[in-house]
């Protein structure tokens, strides 16, 4: 592996909703990623990505987003549960790229008002990840009753999430490094 290049893991905030609690989760995870030695990160806020809704796929890709995903070794997707599914805009944004994702790692953080920590939205997102060419890890972030995890300023109240996200990120970084080695060194037989 080229030791000179840090691992790059952007965090996608997967809803544009006014008052979104998922922003607290995304900022918390972003902070935890940025503490890691040799890992760079940045926030991708889907609210700031202007793509038309009269077309879909690579026809409407936004250059900056594509460059960021191209540079990424892994992604964290922070996704709120909306009627047990994912926000439509998140899917629309994800669909605008393809080659940028191939053989890269992804970890998903589900966010819900209810008690299941976005488990249902995570399960619904897994087959989409697979078709995009992303490789999912076995740890998830499950932010149940998110209104109780952060205070109104977005500060973490429930400290258990630090250990949980540590496990999630360790696995994601390992997978990111292994897949980078594979993309760059292991040929398709």
């Amino acid at each position: 592996m080229d030791g000179a290049r840090p691992v790059f893991i952007p965090v996608i905030l997967g809803t544009p909703r006014q008052g979104r609690m998922s922003e607290h989760v995304a900022r918390f995870v972003l902070g935890e990623v940025s503490k890691r030695e040799g890992v760079e990160t940045e926030l991708i806020d889907i609210r700031n990505i202007s793509i038309p809704v009269t077309d879909a796929g690579e026809n409407v890709k936004e250059a900056k987003l594509s460059e960021t995903i191209m540079r990424a070794d892994a992604l964290v997707i922070v996704v709120p549960e909306y009627n047990h599914g994912y926000p439509g805009l998140l899917k629309h944004v994800l669909d605008t790229n393809l080659k940028e994702y191939i053989h890269k790692a992804v970890g998903i953080c589900g966010v819900s008002a209810g008690g299941f920590g976005g488990t249902r939205v995570i399960q619904n997102l897994l087959p989409v990840m697979r078709e995009l060419g992303l490789v999912t890890i076995f740890w998830d972030g499950n932010f149940s009753s998110v209104q109780n995890i952060f205070d109104t300023s977005g500060n973490l109240v429930d400290q258990a999430y630090i250990k949980r996200i540590d496990k999630f990120l360790k696995e994601l970084i390992w997978m990111a490094k292994v897949l980078r080695y594979g993309r760059e060194k292991v040929p398709l037989e």
Binding site: D2, K99, H103, R183, P187, L188
Partner: protein, 66 residues
């Protein structure tokens, strides 16, 4: 080698670094099939992209298999 592998027989060269890229995946692109329906692989139902990544800068490029 199976059908479609290393279709053009030559390694892709990274336009930024000038080094040989690693061919590590074949990916079906269903959306390319919308614009070029005559190129759909009848056995696979889409257009096959070879995926190549530069070992120096990490850039990924695709090219269509023959």
């Amino acid at each position: 080698m199976s059908k479609g592998d290393q279709s053009k027989g030559v390694k892709m060269i990274c336009p930024s670094c000038g080094v040989e890229m690693n061919y590590h995946a074949d990916k079906l692109d269903y959306t390319a099939a919308l614009t070029e329906p005559n190129k759909i692989d009848p056995e696979l139902g889409g257009i096959l992209d070879e995926v190549h990544t530069c070992p120096k800068c990490g850039r990924t490029d695709v090219r269509k298999t023959d």
